[in-house]
């Protein structure tokens, strides 16, 4: 029996005035975990299968490595004996410090973590590949399989290999959760690796002191997983084509244009955590229709319930075409809010990409975009659009904050 997750579809406008031309329609598709479990009673959390893949290159020396060791020990200490953990370190080489094992010998694992020393360069794909090997030893449909990937630098010449490993991980139901520490890591690659694996884009550990909180959050979010392999498929009838798809919850993530075909849009949500809804916003081009009620899309949500297999729910997306004027108040404020914020995120990302590539910016942002950003971000964006410079850390910080714009509704 389904019921672990509800599927909620909302349109920007339920009534569309006929104009004789194609029109853009906004559709918000949300997967919201319900509180009760279908089997009845509070379900124990799913066992975790974690690989902690850690950069210990020379640049990690000092406060960064110290903070990461403490954070890793905290995560291991919080684990239950039913959880599995492995720890892999990489520089230009790779070493398995803790082979995949139940999280029982916490003192022994802590001692091994303490023994990690800094040194060497950065070849991230080696670490990722070994982490994946360790994860596969205990991966099952009933475990939460995650690679926590920490780095402070730019990997050398193996970025494509990292992306391929992320694809492999995704195909095996293993999500990668990248953490970038310091100012020198490559946010494009880490975001991409997270997204390809159905994990999350990179989190930014701005100061070593923040490592503890961010590692702990990774642990907490994994323990909240209720269903796995969640996917939204939106099927489109003739005369409706997708223009854009963007994940808007829990954070804004542009979807690869590959996920848009003429007939359907597929958005992978990966693990779904209790109390954390996920949602995608679609922009659809709808060809002219006569007056009346039409289905412009059908959304399907599929997910795996541990120990029980796949469930599916469907929902129709209906609009009314009318010759009557449609007052602006009919716009759905929730949908329009997500539309505004995802558009702002896309444009800010464009500005940052331009800045990183050319060192100057030609995109001009309308005040509609900048007004929803915090004052610090506004100031920094004014600086780059005015021809000034900002630091690599600022670039990461703006990206990280803008992605979370949808976490507040105002």
């Amino acid at each position: 029996m389904a019921g672990e997750v509800s599927l909620i579809c909302q349109v920007g406008r339920e009534r569309i005035q006929i104009t004789g031309g194609s029109q853009l329609a906004y559709v918000l598709v949300e997967a919201r975990p319900t509180n009760g479990t279908a089997g009845g009673g509070a379900q124990a959390r799913m066992p975790l299968n974690f690989a902690l893949v850690l950069d210990h290159s020379g640049s990690m020396k000092g406060a960064k490595l110290r903070a990461v060791k403490d954070a890793v020990k905290l995560v291991v200490n919080s684990m239950m004996p039913t959880d599995f953990v492995s720890i892999v370190i990489f520089d230009d080489n790779v070493r398995v410090v803790v082979p995949a094992q139940p999280a029982t010998d916490k003192a022994g694992i802590a001692a091994l973590v303490e023994g990690i020393r800094d040194g060497g360069g950065t070849a991230m794909s080696l670490g990722m590949s070994m982490g994946l090997t360790e994860l596969r030893k205990h991966a099952s449909p009933n475990t939460v399989n995650r690679m926590i990937l920490l780095t402070d630098g730019v990997t050398y010449g193996d970025a494509d290999r990292c992306r391929r490993i992320a694809d492999d991980a995704g195909a095996s139901g293993i999500g990668i959760y990248p953490l970038g520490i310091g100012a020198d890591w490559d946010e494009d690659l880490l975001d991409n690796v997270g997204q390809r694996s159905s994990g999350m884009p990179a989190e930014f550990i701005k100061r070593p002191d923040d490592a503890l909180t961010l590692f702990e959050r990774q642990f907490q979010s994994a323990t909240a997983v209720s269903v796995r392999n969640t996917q939204i498929t939106v099927r489109l009838p003739a005369g409706v084509t997708p223009k854009k798809a963007v994940k808007v919850l829990p954070v804004i993530t542009e979807q690869n244009p590959e996920t848009l075909s003429d007939r359907e849009v597929v958005v992978n949500l990966g693990d779904l955590e209790r109390d954390t809804p996920q949602a995608a916003l679609l922009e659809l081009m709808v060809e002219p229709r006569p007056e009346g009620t039409f289905r412009i899309a059908q959304a399907e949500l599929s997910y795996d319930v541990p120990g029980r297999g796949q469930e599916k729910v469907r929902s129709d997306v209906i609009v009314n075409f009318t010759n009557d004027p449609v007052p602006p108040e009919e716009a759905n404020p929730v949908v329009m809010n997500y539309a505004e914020k995802s558009n702002a995120h896309r444009l800010v990302t464009r500005v940052l990409d331009e800045y990183k590539k050319n060192g100057k910016v030609t995109t001009r942002l309308h005040p509609n975009v900048t007004r929803i950003l915090d004052p610090e971000t506004q100031r920094l964006l004014d600086q780059v659009t005015g021809g000034g410079t900002i630091t690599a850390e600022d670039v990461k910080s703006i990206g990280n904050k803008t992605r979370k714009l949808t976490q507040r509704f105002e």
Binding site: G21, P328, A331, E340, L347, H366, P367, R371, L373
Partner: protein, 156 residues
């Protein structure tokens, strides 16, 4: 058919925001006559003596609060269907970082309170930043700042 933003960027009909610069294409989204939208806009009205009011410091516009127990302060946004009682759009709201739902003024047992609604740029009373969603008592003559827009609260 396409619609253009003020910079001339083309967007498909039905778009709420420009793809190129992010400008809100509200007019295109609103298919009703313009006066339908403005009819719901709260207008500052003449102030009877002895009534509570908010005065915008920059332009001395007065918002009468008489007879109201809850007043929403923010910026009108037809696209999001948000029409605050005190709309600061025309009083520096946009440049001044006022959120659409910025703050609420509440009347409770003859005590006026102000509550920040999780605004982006915060609410300040006499230069003190308020915690979001925490009603704070205000009195005659207090300065209330929303983002960078300053107002004075008067009970008489």
């Amino acid at each position: 058919m396409t619609i253009r933003c003020s910079q001339g960027h083309e967007n498909p009909e039905g778009s709420a925001f420009c793809d190129e610069c992010g400008e809100q294409l509200g007019a295109a989204y609103a298919t009703a006559p313009a006066d339908a939208a403005t009819a719901t806009t709260p207008q500052p009205i003449a102030m009877p003596a002895g009534a509570p009011k908010l005065v915008v410091e920059a332009d001395s516009t007065t918002f009468d609060l008489a007879g109201k127990t809850e007043v929403v302060i923010g910026r009108e946004d037809p696209v999001s269907n948000i029409y605050p009682d005190v709309d600061l759009t025309a009083h520096g709201g946009e440049e001044g970082g006022v959120s659409r739902l910025h703050a609420k003024l509440l009347l409770n047992d003859s005590q006026y309170l102000i509550e920040d609604q999780n605004s982006t740029n915060f609410t300040f009373v006499n230069k003190q930043k308020l915690a979001p969603k925490t009603p704070t008592a205000i009195k005659d003559g207090d300065e209330i700042r929303l983002g960078r827009v300053a107002l004075t609260f008067h009970t008489a």
